[in-house]
């Protein structure tokens, strides 16, 4: 595919880019010499796990660095303009006009105080490209091309009135407002559900092709980048690993690191023997109807979880997955139905449960950042449940904390007195696991525990959970929207939609056709490594 | 000595028992006034006065007047039966003249005819009776009630009003000069306490209590051109001392009362500024409850009297504007001031001596005081505590809130602070604050000999005998009294040099006897 662009003009040249970041009052190099050459109309995929410097490099392509970062060396040449030497004003004249940016979270990147269309027209009006009314009609036009619903009026809404997938498309439209030569896409679909992701990917691809815009597409999801990019560059901790055109990168990665990235999806939990007849489930959810105010979020939900088994609860956001977890933990007493634990009915409000009942069911949260008190050291974070439930004190407690750290594969001496802020994302999630284990529970709810993590790290966490399950005979309820995760870890699957269970059964059964239509939609939306997957899927759906 | 022809030998004794306009008409005030100055007096201009007092809760009821704003305003818009002259003598005002019976129990006052109120009406004898009756009776809330209660009967005889007193009182006309007793128009025997009408030199056009008042000259004023030279008067309540000074310096007012003594020497340096101190009878005191130990022991009281550094107080608290006191309330300018009494001075050894007399080496005392007692009272107490230490007296100063001081601390706590504006005659002062059982006997002091002398002197018409009695009473109060009176404080005002006044200045009150609007002029 490289040949396709060989005769086009070079738009962007980055040579030996080095970027430093400030931490602990000193400057440390975080990007160690990256080169990029991008021609007009070409899409470059930047891939790597978090901390690889993808976003930093992407922003540097605009001559921009975040606060606390600086470009220490290298050249950035955009269409003959030396961005490092250019004045701040000159750079501003390019940004938004000739180089545009699409951020990861459109919900956070749209200013909540202004209407979409005002934010759309800001760049064209301020850069003097067109007048306000012209920009507004142009916006409507682009919204239509982005296949946004009600394109004539959607612009007059505020960001919070528009769904996440629509916002992401509106943001892409906004980036297009001045018809830039280059767009930086910074993980634009990471925060979206699989089903929504497809629509956004399709819209982005269409518009980029239509206006022949060059793009740098940053992501950690290989399957996604395979659909979008002409060439792929792999980064690791600020260093270039390798670069080649998409097809050869997918079929024939050269470096070990790239190969390991490619191998992530191969992990699968071994098949478990069927549950013995007559065994009492650890947790039973019985006829649960629950909700907030007058709205029922859950409608008559039923399922069981047995010891040493993992039940994956899947569905889009808003389908009632997390609410189910809140009902089980007792944070949200149900309107109807009950929760049984080892065959015994649990009090519906957690405040009425005994300490032992509380101990038996633990929870691991999606965002380790908010789930760990940032002001407490690991000793206390992990030790507190052991101290509270098991009455451990002094030496015995310390010993137990060290055991737990060993279990989650962190070196006790090094970590026991750290603060959460001194850990990486994966390590934080491990602490969340250790904290749950410290209570010596029978049952753990894992709420999207890997969705905020890179694939390599996520895989580590899944393996760890798996190991612990076998070791301690744990029952897991695994809430996720990622079917790949389900495939690798679940024994049984519960599919939820709009508060109802639409399908449930053993994993193998669920992944075998025929599916329930919603399950089918979910399954088919999981991106695949095949560069033609998106085109084929859209075509198939278009025909259907 | 004929009762109706009595003439005082002393200057200020003149005309007490019988007063009358000497000739009348234009020369009305000549004998007592300041003819030189008045000859130069010029009409015109609006006098702007900044007063330290004046509260939003002030009222027009004369029985309630207590601060200088009300009193100053009262003298600007009202006349009284009797005026106290700049030399301390009595001058007939609404009363044309008076006569007393030989025992000084029955007094006949003749009301001047043709004295006009602002409203145009003329003053009648009924008005006079009503104005005084306002302060009497069971329901009276007037502050003047205690001093007027001596009147047992008032009868009207044409333009004469005859007062019958419970006991003889040679100083009765002074009583009627009290600022609470202006002559006001009456209706059915009652005065209207919501009206601003009066028969004084200026008409109140606008009055906002606690803020200020505007007055214009009363065209029909009976004293004619000899008094009230300003076209108008503006009185402003400026509570903050610095604000008052600033108003004067920046020319927003012409005169201020109660200058901040801490900085008066600095104010003096400002161009065109005249500091105007008047040493009268105003004195600051520290009364002790003589019923309570240790103050019931006169040795302790004497120890305290010698442990106070009076000179330092006058220097520091008054910045020199005043004189040392000798623990009795009679000022050096008064008729019977005891010139033979030894002046006490700071002597820690004698303080220690007296303390030993009461069997003590040292003593711990507490004084409860607030600046409400007098300006600089807390500082004075702090100075006292420093000087008393040398005499073996450990005095702790407890500052009380100004708010509520007079009801909660004064006459409630055993050792406090007080001030007295002074009274024009000895008897009034002693009767009010030193007589046994008097409402304002703030030290709960009682002395047999003193009480006898007080009654005797009041009705005594022989001047020499009277002097002797008052001398002894001063001696008693000074040596055995239960109030330390360390200083007599001058009234210190300040004005710009365009303001003129007579050579002599009244010492009975601040602001030229509160009659400056009537007596002063712009040069």
């Amino acid at each position: 595919m490289t040949d396709e662009f060989a005769d086009k003009d070079v738009l962007l040249t980055i040579k030996d880019l080095r970027i430093e970041g400030r931490s602990d009052e000193t400057w440390n190099e975080i990007v160690h010499g990256v080169d990029i050459t991008l021609r007009k109309g070409e899409v470059l995929g930047l891939i790597g796990e978090s901390g690889a410097g993808k976003s930093t490099v992407g922003l540097a392509a605009m001559g921009f660095t975040r606060d606390g970062c600086r470009i220490s060396d290298g050249t950035i040449d955009f269409d003959g303009i030396d961005l490092r030497a250019a004045s701040a004003g000159d750079r501003r004249a390019l940004m938004g006009k000739r180089i545009a940016y699409v951020a990861q979270s459109a919900a956070a990147s749209f200013n909540p105080s202004h209407k979409l269309i005002d934010q759309y027209s800001e760049a064209p009006v301020q850069h003097g490209v067109m007048g306000k009314s012209e920009a507004e009609s142009d916006a409507t036009d682009l919204y239509r091309r982005m296949q946004l619903p009600d394109p004539d009026n959607i612009g007059f809404r505020y960001p919070h009135q528009v769904s996440g997938g629509q916002l992401q498309r509106a943001m892409t439209a906004m980036a297009m407002a001045c018809r830039p030569d280059l767009i930086i896409f910074d993980e634009p679909t990471t925060a979206l559900d699989v089903t929504t992701q497809i629509e956004v990917l399709a819209a982005i691809r269409n518009i980029v092709e239509e206006f022949d815009t060059a793009a740098i597409y940053i992501t950690h999801d290989l399957a996604v980048v395979a659909q979008m990019a002409d060439r792929i560059k792999v980064l690791l901790k600020g260093d270039e690993v390798e670069e080649s055109d998409t097809a050869s990168m997918l079929s024939d990665p050269q470096e070990d690191y790239t190969k390991s990235l490619w191998a992530v999806r191969s992990y699968a939990r071994p098949e478990q023997p069927p549950v013995a007849a007559g065994e009492t489930p650890v947790v039973s959810v019985r006829n649960v109807t629950a909700g907030y105010g007058s709205i029922d979020v859950l409608k008559d939900v039923n399922f069981d979880i047995y010891a040493k088994r993992t039940v994956a609860v899947v569905g889009e956001s808003g389908s009632g997955k997390s609410t189910t977890a809140r009902v089980i933990t007792g944070l949200l007493p149900p309107r109807k139905g009950e929760i049984l634990f080892d065959g015994q009915t649990l009090p519906s409000d957690y405040r009425k449960r005994s300490r032992d009942q509380l101990r038996q069911a633990q929870m691991i949260y999606q965002m380790a950042d908010t789930a760990l008190n940032p002001k407490l050291r690991l000793r206390e974070l992990i030790g507190r449940p052991a101290q509270m439930y098991l009455g451990l004190q002094g030496k015995a407690l310390t010993e137990r904390i060290r055991q737990l750290l060993d279990l989650i594969e962190l070196e006790p001496d090094e970590y026991i007195d750290r603060l959460p802020s001194e850990l990486s994302g994966g390590q934080k999630q491990r602490i969340g696991i250790a904290r749950a284990l410290a209570a010596e529970p029978k049952f753990i709810i894992c709420d999207e525990v890997t969705s905020a993590l890179d694939q390599l790290v996520a895989e580590g966490i899944l393996r760890l959970l798996d190991k612990l399950q076998n070791e301690f005979d744990l029952a897991y309820m695994f809430i996720t929207h990622d079917l790949a995760t389900v495939r690798s870890i679940a024994d049984e699957v519960v599919v939820m939609k709009e508060g109802k269970v639409v399908a449930q059964g053993p994993k193998l059964e669920m992944f075998q056709p025929p599916h329930d239509p919603y399950t089918e939609l979910l399954l088919s939306s999981v991106p695949e490594m095949d560069p033609n997957w998106l085109s084929d899927l859209l075509k198939a759906r278009g025909e259907a | 000595m004929s009762s109706n022809k009595f003439m005082s030998s002393g200057v200020s004794r003149r005309g007490v028992l019988k007063g009358a306009s000497a000739i009348g008409g234009a020369a009305l005030l000549t004998p007592m006034g300041t003819p030189m100055a008045r000859a130069q007096a010029m009409r015109g201009g609006t006098l702007r006065v900044g007063m330290a007092h004046g509260s939003t809760t002030d009222s027009l009821d004369p029985g309630s007047w207590e601060n200088d704003f009300s009193i100053f305003l009262a003298h600007s818009s009202n006349n009284y039966l009797v005026e106290i002259g700049q030399d301390g003598s009595l001058i007939p005002e609404v009363a044309e003249g008076w006569e007393a019976s030989p025992d000084a129990r029955v007094w006949t006052f003749t009301i001047r005819s043709g004295v006009q109120y602002h409203s145009g009406r003329t003053v009648t004898a009924e008005d006079v009776v009503a104005s005084i009756n306002h302060h009497l009776g069971d329901d009276s809330t007037s502050a003047a009630k205690p001093i007027l209660e001596v009147i047992t009967e008032m009868t009207i005889d044409g333009m004469n009003v005859v007062f019958t007193l419970a006991d003889g009182n040679a100083d009765f006309p002074f009583v009627l000069s009290d600022y609470h007793v202006p002559i006001l128009p009456s209706n059915n025997g009652e005065i209207d306490v919501t009206s601003t009408d009066g028969c004084g030199p200026y008409v109140i056009d606008q009055l906002e209590q606690g803020v200020g008042a505007s007055l214009t000259r009363h065209d029909g004023y009976w004293k004619g051109d000899s008094r009230a030279h300003f076209d108008g008067v503006e009185i402003l309540a400026i509570h903050d001392a610095a604000a008052r000074q600033n108003a004067l310096i920046s020319g927003e007012v012409d005169y201020i009362d109660t200058v901040d003594l801490n900085t008066v020497h600095l104010l003096q340096r400002a161009p065109g500024m005249v500091i105007f101190p008047v040493t009268g009878n105003q004195h600051y005191g520290l009364p002790m409850d003589s019923r309570q130990a240790p103050y019931s022991d006169n040795n302790v009281r004497m120890a305290l009297k010698y442990a106070i550094d009076r000179e330092q107080m006058v220097d520091t608290i008054l910045n020199g504007f005043g004189s040392v006191g000798n623990d009795h309330p009679i000022g050096p300018g008064q008729r019977y001031f005891n010139t033979e009494l030894e002046q006490k001075s700071y002597d820690p050894d004698r303080a220690r001596y007296y303390l030993q007399q009461s069997g003590l080496d040292s003593i711990d005392l507490e004084i409860n005081i607030a600046d409400a007692a007098f300006s600089g009272a807390v500082d004075a107490a702090v100075l006292f505590s420093e000087s008393a230490a040398a005499g073996g007296i450990n005095l702790t100063v407890s500052r009380e809130p100004n708010d509520g001081y007079w009801s909660n601390v004064w006459m409630q706590k055993p050792f406090v602070g007080t001030y007295w504006g002074g009274r024009p005659v000895e008897d009034l002062m002693f009767t009010t604050a030193y007589a046994e059982g008097a409402s304002w006997n703030e030290s709960y002091w009682s002395h047999e000999r003193f009480n006898e002398l007080l009654v005797a002197a009041r009705a005594e018409l022989n001047d020499d005998l009277r002097r002797e009695m008052y001398f002894e009473m001063q001696q008693i109060v000074s040596d055995e009294g239960s109030t330390i009176i360390p200083m007599f404080a001058a009234y210190v005002g300040a004005h710009n040099d365009t303001l003129m006044h007579g050579d002599e200045i009244a010492t009975n009150w601040a602001n030229d006897g509160h009659r400056m609007t009537e007596r002063w002029w712009f040069g």
């Binding site: 501003r92 105080s113 809404r157 | 509260s55 809760t57 809330t141 200020g212």
Partner: protein, 318 residues
């Protein structure tokens, strides 16, 4: 929008409750003060007889709860009683002074609010620069001087002999509007200095707080100038805390400036309140306290309504 109206209604009801409790508290406090009106009014010259007579006359010999209920009954019918000391209706006594207080507060606010917003925005824009640090230090210095002392300093500088402005804010004699502005310039300036620092610091902090937001980065990446980023993108989202702090300071300008009134001889409510407390003139104390409390409640309510209106999420529900 209906939810905003219901919020206003609810808050007004709560506000009335607040006013009621304030009136009870103030009444109790006035009762607890040493001495009563009769004693205070007659002062040093009080005698037992005259005090008793005055109490009888004013009904102060009635038990406490009866007097409160009497007052409350009147107040509920819009009659706030008469001043005990000069017998004038409280509404009349307060009326003019309330106008004065509002005028001065509005004057000071008209200077202070734009000034502190501008300074806060500039400080946020040039954060950690010399300008920022200097403005910060200057504002802190200004608020760390007691306000009466600030007033004295301003008088020395700007009034005094041959000064530019009068040292007294004398409103007697029906001055014109322009004249009023001139005469009350110094007190307004003093109050401006007192409140500016707080509002400026909050503006700066609220804006800086948002500068790490993705939408601010987005605005910068759209090539917008720093000024536009701060004013158009950060400020509208920082309005809620700023409005709150402005409301608190406006309430202070109305209720907290008794010392400024004293120094500039300005007949406002603060002085009336202090005078009335000193003389235990309960109806006046109650009247002023209720005005102060109402001002506080209404300003807070206004702030909350404005803060709600400034947030599209709360105005335009999904």
């Amino acid at each position: 929008m209906s939810h905003i109206w219901s919020m206003i209604g609810k808050r007004l009801a709560l506000g009335l409750l607040t006013l009621f409790i304030v009136s009870v508290l103030i009444f109790l406090a006035t009762e607890l003060l040493p001495g009563d009106f009769a004693e205070e009014f007659l002062g040093q010259s009080a005698t037992e007889e005259t005090v008793a007579a005055l109490r009888r006359e004013l009904g102060l010999d009635q038990p406490m709860h009866i007097r409160y209920i009497d007052w409350l009954t009147g107040a509920l019918q819009g009659d706030f009683g008469n001043s005990l000391s000069n017998r004038r209706p409280v509404s009349e006594l307060i009326g003019g002074r309330f106008g004065n207080t509002l005028f001065l507060a509005a004057y000071a606010a008209a200077i202070a609010v734009p000034l502190s917003l501008a300074l806060g925005i500039l400080a946020a824009l040039y954060r950690n620069s010399f300008f920022d640090r200097f403005a910060n230090a200057a504002a802190l210095t200004a608020i760390s001087f007691p306000e009466f002392f600030l007033a004295y300093i301003l008088i020395v500088w700007l009034a005094g002999a041959g000064g530019l402005f009068p040292s007294m804010a004398n409103l007697r004699g029906d001055p014109s509007f322009g004249d009023m502005l001139y005469r009350t310039f110094l007190p307004a300036l003093t109050m401006t200095l007192v409140v500016t620092a707080h509002m400026m610091r909050m503006t700066r902090a609220a804006i800086i707080n948002l500068l790490a937001s993705p939408y601010i980065e987005m605005a910068r990446l759209k090539g917008m100038s720093p000024m536009r980023v701060v004013v158009k993108h950060a400020l509208p989202n920082a309005l809620a805390p700023i409005i709150n702090v402005i409301a608190l300071n406006l309430a202070y300008l109305i209720t907290g400036v008794v010392l400024v009134e004293v120094v500039f001889v300005y007949p406002g409510l603060g002085q009336l309140m202090v005078d009335s407390v000193a003389s235990r003139d309960m109806p006046v104390v109650q009247g002023v306290a209720l005005i102060f409390a109402a001002a506080y409640v209404l300003l807070n309510l206004t702030a909350d309504v404005l803060a709600t209106l400034s947030n599209p999420r709360l105005v335009h529900r999904r």
